[in-house]
Structure formats: structure tokens, C-alpha cells
Symmetry: C2
Subunit: 444 residues, 2 copies
């Protein structure tokens, strides 16, 4: 069996630890010269760490300095690797070629997205859920929409997040001014409610313990745990929001990876239109991480306490702070939602989910407790008693594999690492072999 | 000669006036159903008008209902109309085709933009100005960067804008919470300093009258007046910022249209690196209004009052609130900065500037006082004693031409309209003829 003790070794001092990175960022080389009289934004000052993924990149960079010939396998950032279906790229090529003709040239489009794409998202992605095209706002991606939703909502709200969760919810909350001070001792911001979502509660918060947050960021299938909330769990969540007057910001960026009957949209739950906004994306659904395309659904029935429809203000945010997604990306998105395109992107998703199975099997065979990988392209691995940055560092040092330390997703991620199933098949197989070999070495 | 009196006619009551639009937006149909307990963001409540351009679109829509067969010529929103150079679209096509291959597929790129593009912007666009690639942040457009800069700076700063100016500076300031209440009587937000830039002061603010703003939004060539600030004016601006400890946010989105020796970048002015950020865009430079690509330069020497470099926080904003511009758009942008691409986009700019000449000549021949059109694709026309929304409405009613009422750019734009030189040549000529014919009718 796997000996977790190997992960409690003393860290190689050549490996830059997060605290050192922070220290360097907080104390840049002193400058001699003119200072403006503009004070640094106190919200920016409150941000505690470098954003997780750039920080992991920094570790990778240092690893390569130590081992210049290392064949690194990146199972860290969840970045798609497989070529786009040709029918999707053909549509974009046709559109781009048109831009060099009088007839095909297009300038500014509607800030909310092309009508045809809004309609396709409503009709195809949200089939039978009664979403109107005017409730769909096309964007350059879910992460960007999260910040725009924070701008919409403003600094004076109490937010709750799943713990662990995707860092952008908390970081954008700090930037907008909702978070309050960071409390080192507990690793949390004072004004943010961290709703623990561990295996003890089937990765769902104990809502009896929750206060009355005004905004609830909820990601399902969850990044990083890979858990897709069940219908019953989401019904509880919607009930909770309704009773407490909260707004749920539901991130369904990975919903296309759901293989069982868990809901793919919060709008499958009766009553959700009165309490929820949904953020989603073509990034993982269709491999558009670099092409950039996403959307947000704001139902007409969602009202502020004074009865004013949220959708009116969000429309204003999109028209003022955004200027439409790239029309080329939108042409590609529309192709993904055609019957042929939909089948093609689905086969990409199946490919990544086969990767997930391979990783789940390899990690399980080591005796590790493994979650996720069934309804999401992330595998969430438990290392009881170990610090997740130490596990991350040891795996990198000994196998040249990049993962993500669970604590990067909040204190609830400590003792875990996230392993991404995005990758080419041979890399995934090679990574599985290296992990097994590491075990073999440790055992002998 | 032209009789300005025609513009003081009583408005047709079928034309929806801005106040009516606002009233409709502020009092949406009452809703019956669940209200959340989330209060509407008070910053959003302070926004006074629908965003200018969507509001003009609404007018256009109503005009078409009244005259279903009207051949409308749109000289309103400054939207590019000419096909992109084939060498630019070829580069994008190659990139898109690559996305369907294992070798050419790309996922997430750096949030700050592809290294090659950052370098090309620094080396080609800012030739000899000493801008480093690491100071260039590629984005999806200047308007989006303006909001990100407001997020960076936070709600507690005093801002100043040119009056008239592009509405996004003020609207984003309201959304972030800097603006204070709107004072109806003067048509201004209480905490924003409106620096009058009219012909009396050669479209430059009287800085002796200015207080000590922390942020100065300054657009040159100016949208809407078309005035490119002279070197001497910009030297005064940099001096003012240095003495007062202000940060200038310099919007150079139209700099490629400058035909005389006015500076194309604030960084041509000695000392600007310690006091200025520059926002710019491929939208008007290369016809990328729909493709979406822009950039912001934050020099290393720009420091907050505590000595902390602004560039570090902006980098954090880009990594947290943005996820990189579309990699397809970036491939196109890189092509625009090749020697061949640069020549090709320059010829597009010349085309639009010939349009501007035609419009300037036509409007001048009517005896109107006309500004702009020399260093910018905007013509700024004075109608002394008239309300600009009335002028807008009469021109639309009688010639089916869309312009922009100057007051939409701030109280300093009253009595003016902005005429855009973006358009196909035959439309521009037709518009000029219609305007001359309108005069002819009025005279006879």
C-alpha cells in the first residue's frame, strides 16, 4: 500500500514556497524617483497571494532551471489540449475570410452577443429550460464575467463560497471590496463565508450552519473537487436562497462533463429563475480556452430587494464595461451548437473523461482516496496528514508532474491535490506510469 | 448662408427623448413574485442615462418604424466599415486552421498577451520610446481596459475628465463608486471634475482652474472633438500631473489618425513614464472593432504614494479579472504590426481620413463652424444656441442621417454634434449631398 509518509519530508530549499513569492511581490525592489500622490487601492493591498496558476508556473520555471532536461507533464492548470473539430474551425475560417470582403466585414456587434448565438445557447444548451435569448449575455469567458458580476453587485454584500473553490470568486471579491481583512491564523478573509464542502457532507455545504449570505458562489461540477451537486442538493440550495433572499451565482463551466443524471444547469431546479444567475463557458465545453468565449444567464424574474430586475443592471454593465466577445469566437461558438458541432465537441469531452478514468484508476491502485473524475475532468486526491504544497512539491521533484495543491483553493483543500485530466493520451498514460513507479521506489 | 434657426423647431413628439428612455429604464414594469433581499448596488442606481450609443440605436429603431423605407446613413457610432487587409485575415486563417491540428492547437495563453505581440507593440507602435514588452498588457479593447483600470484604482479617488469626453470614463467611474451623486441642475456628477475643453482654450483644459485630481482621463486625439493635443499641451499636462501627484490615464485609441506632428503617445513627453498609463486599441487603428483587441501600457516607473509600482497591481488585475485576449485576434494584431500589415492598415486609415475631408468640406460649405477631421476620424460641428439632441433629431428626421448629439459626451458638448468619418465612400458622399440639399430646402 501507498505510504503517505513520503509526503512529510523536509522541503528542498531550492523550491520557492508561496510565502517567499508573496514576500517578493509585496516588497518589490525599492524605487528611487517620483512617487505620485495616489494611494494604493486598499482592496488590492488585501490580496494575499499571487494568483494560484501564475504561482504554479513560477514553480515550474524553477524546476526547469534545476532540471533543464526534465520532461514535465502538466496536469496543473485545466487547459484543453486537443485540436478543435474542423467543422468549428471551418466556420471561423469562413467568417475571417469574410472580414476581408465588403459583404462579410463586420464591426461592432451587440455588446450582449450576436442574436443567433444568444438564441442557440438558449435553445440548444438550455433546451426545454425556458431560457430566453435576451437573458443570455455572451462574453469572453466565465472568469471575466465573475468580475463583471462583482461590479454589478458592488462592495457592500456578504458573500459565501464553497471551500474549496475556484480562486477567482474570492480574489474578485477582495478586489471589489467585499472581503474584509485576511485572517492569517485561519487562512480566510473576515467577511467571506467559507462553506466547507468535504467528503463528510458529500461535497455539499451544511446549510444549517450557514449565515445569511447575500451572494452564494456555487460551482457544479465543482472545481477543484470534481463533485457534481445532485438534484436534491441543488433543490436544498435553491430553497436556502429563496428563504434567505440570497442570489446564487452558479458556475456551470464544467457541466458538459456530467455523465450521470446530476443537473447540468441550476435552471433545472424549480424556482431557480427567482434566485440564480448562471455563468458558463465554451472553454472546457468546446476547447475554447484560448479562443475565449463564455456567457452568463440572468433570468428576468431575478429581482433586487426593491423589485428592480437584476437583468437591467447587468445589461448596463455589459454595455459600459465590455464591448462584445470577438465576433470570430462567436462564429466558432455558433458552430459548436449546431447538431454536427455539438456531436464533435461531445467526442472531445469523452476523450478527456477517458483520461480522467485512467488517472482515477492509477491513483486508486496506489491506495489513495480519490474523488472526482466521474462528472468532471478533475481528480481530487486525498493525502491525509500532509500539506498540499508539500505533496505538490514532492510530486514535481520526483516525477516532473505538475499538479495543483488543494490549499490553493481555500483552507478546505488542505491535504488534497487536484489532478487535471486535460492532456494528450500518451502524457496521461506516462504520468500514470511515473506515479506508479514513484510508489514502487518508495516501497523498495 | 446656413440658417441655424431651423434647429430650434419644436420636436416631433413621436421621437423618444432621452428623459423618456431613462424614465422607462428606471421604472420597469412592476414585477409580481419573489424579491431577493439583495439591495440594488447604489453605484448602479446613480447611473443617469442609458449608455449613449444604445440610446442612439433606440432612436434609429423608432425612426425606422416611422419611415420603414428610409435609407439611413449611420455617421453615429464610430464603427469601422472597410474590409480588413487580406494579409491580416490570412494570418488569422492560418492560426485558426492550426487550432484543428495537434501542433497548432493552443489553449490558454498568458493573461498579459502573447510575448511576440507585446514585443511588437513595444517595438513597432512605440518605436524608439523605450517601452518594454513587460509594460504592455494586451486586452480585448480599450473600453474594457478602462473598467479594469477603475478596478485597479478603486472607489476612493477623485477623477477629472475632459468635457466633452468619451462616456465610458464617467460611467465606469460611477459604477466603481468614485462619482458621487448626479447634480441635475448642472448635468454633472458631484465628485467628478469636468475640465472644459472647448475652442476658446484650443480644446485643452485650463489647468490653472483645476483642483488636484488623483486620476486624469485624457483622450488624444479626442473623442468627440477630434482635437489632437499639441506637444506643448501634453507637456503642460505631464507637468501638472507631476506637480500634483496625479496619474494620467491617456487614451490614444485614435493616435494612428494623427497627420501632423502632434504626439501619438503620451510617452513622447519626457517624464510621462512617472505619471501616465496609456490605453490603446486595434479597433480604429486596424478595423478590429468586432475582432476585439487592445492594450494598456503601465510603465515601471509609475508608483503609488507608498512607492509600490502600479504595474504589479495591474498585472494582478489582468490575471484575476481577465483571461487573455482571443488568441485568434492576437494573431491578427501581430500581422498588423509587420511591415506589410502596417502599410495595409495605414491605407485604411487614409481612406477614412479622406472621408473626413469630404465631410469637413461639405459641412464648412454650409457656413458651419467645424472642428476635428484633421487628426481624427471625427468631425465636431457647432450649432450655436441649439440643443444638440434637437440638432441630432432634426438631422435624422430630415436627412435620415445618424449623428451623435454632443451633449451625450458631457455638458461641454452641448450645441455640438459629432459626425463620424467611418463609412463607405459612397455613403459619405451621399450624406454630404443630403446635408447640402437640406440647406438648399431651408434657403428656398
Amino acid at each position: 500500500m501507498y505510504k503517505t509518509s513520503i509526503f512529510s519530508y523536509t522541503l528542498n530549499t531550492n523550491v520557492l514556497q508561496p510565502k517567499m513569492v508573496v514576500a517578493r511581490l509585496k516588497n518589490p525592489s525599492p524605487r528611487i524617483g517620483h512617487c505620485t500622490k495616489v494611494p494604493r487601492n486598499s482592496n488590492m493591498e488585501k490580496l494575499q497571494h499571487g494568483y494560484l496558476f501564475p504561482e504554479i508556473e513560477r514553480h515550474e520555471h524553477m524546476h526547469l532551471q534545476k532540471y533543464p532536461h526534465a520532461n514535465i507533464i502538466d496536469l496543473g492548470i485545466g487547459d484543453t489540449t486537443e485540436p478543435l473539430p474542423t467543422m468549428v474551425t471551418s466556420s471561423m475560417v469562413d467568417f475571417v475570410l469574410g472580414l476581408s470582403t465588403s459583404k462579410g466585414y463586420k464591426g461592432y456587434g451587440p455588446e450582449q452577443g450576436e442574436q443567433a448565438l444568444r438564441k442557440a445557447i438558449a435553445d440548444v444548451y438550455y433546451k426545454d429550460l425556458g431560457i430566453k435569448p435576451t437573458e443570455v449575455f455572451v462574453s469572453d469567458g466565465a472568469q471575466c464575467d465573475i468580475t463583471r458580476l462583482q461590479l454589478l453587485m458592488g462592495p457592500n454584500l456578504k458573500i459565501a463560497v464553497q471551500d474549496p473553490s475556484f480562486p477567482a470568486y474570492i480574489d474578485s471579491s477582495v478586489i471589489i471590496g467585499q472581503a474584509g481583512d485576511f485572517v492569517d491564523k485561519v487562512g480566510k478573509y473576515k467577511n467571506i463565508e467559507y462553506m466547507k464542502c468535504g467528503p463528510q457532507t458529500n461535497f455539499f455545504p451544511d446549510l444549517h450552519k450557514a449565515s445569511r449570505p447575500e451572494l452564494i458562489f456555487f460551482c457544479s461540477p465543482n472545481n477543484p473537487t470534481g463533485h457534481a451537486a445532485t438534484r436534491k442538493q441543488l433543490e436544498q440550495l435553491v430553497d436556502f436562497a429563496k428563504v434567505n433572499g440570497s442570489i446564487i451565482i452558479f458556475d456551470s463551466a464544467y457541466s458538459a462533463y456530467i455523465t450521470d443524471d446530476s443537473p447540468k444547469s441550476i435552471f433545472e431546479i424549480p424556482g431557480a429563475r427567482e434566485v440564480a444567475i448562471e455563468v458558463s463557458s465554451f472553454s472546457k465545453f468546446a476547447g475554447f480556452t484560448g479562443v475565449r468565449l463564455g456567457w452568463t444567464v440572468v433570468p428576468e424574474e431575478l429581482l433586487y430587494s426593491n423589485g428592480f430586475p437584476v437583468v437591467h443592471d447587468f445589461n448596463r454593465i455589459m454595455c459600459t464595461c465590455f464591448n462584445g466577445a470577438s465576433n470570430i469566437a462567436q462564429a466558432g461558438g455558433l458552430a459548436c451548437l449546431s447538431p454536427e458541432g455539438f456531436r464533435a465537441v461531445k467526442s472531445l469531452i469523452n476523450y478527456y473523461m477517458e483520461n480522467a478514468s485512467i488517472l482515477v484508476n492509477a491513483l486508486s491502485s496506489l491506495g489513495l482516496t480519490v474523488y472526482g473524475g466521474k462528472n468532471a475532468p478533475y481528480v481530487w486526491v486525498h493525502f491525509p496528514g500532509s500539506k498540499s504544497w508539500n505533496v505538490f512539491a514532492e510530486i514535481l521533484e520526483k516525477t516532473h508532474i505538475i499538479t495543483v495543491p488543494g490549499s490553493g483553493f481555500g483552507p478546505g483543500g488542505e491535504e488534497y491535490i487536484r489532478v487535471s485530466a486535460f492532456g494528450q493520451r500518451d502524457s496521461i498514460i506516462e504520468a500514470s506510469e511515473r506515479l506508479k513507479y514513484l510508489l514502487y521506489q518508495e516501497e523498495n
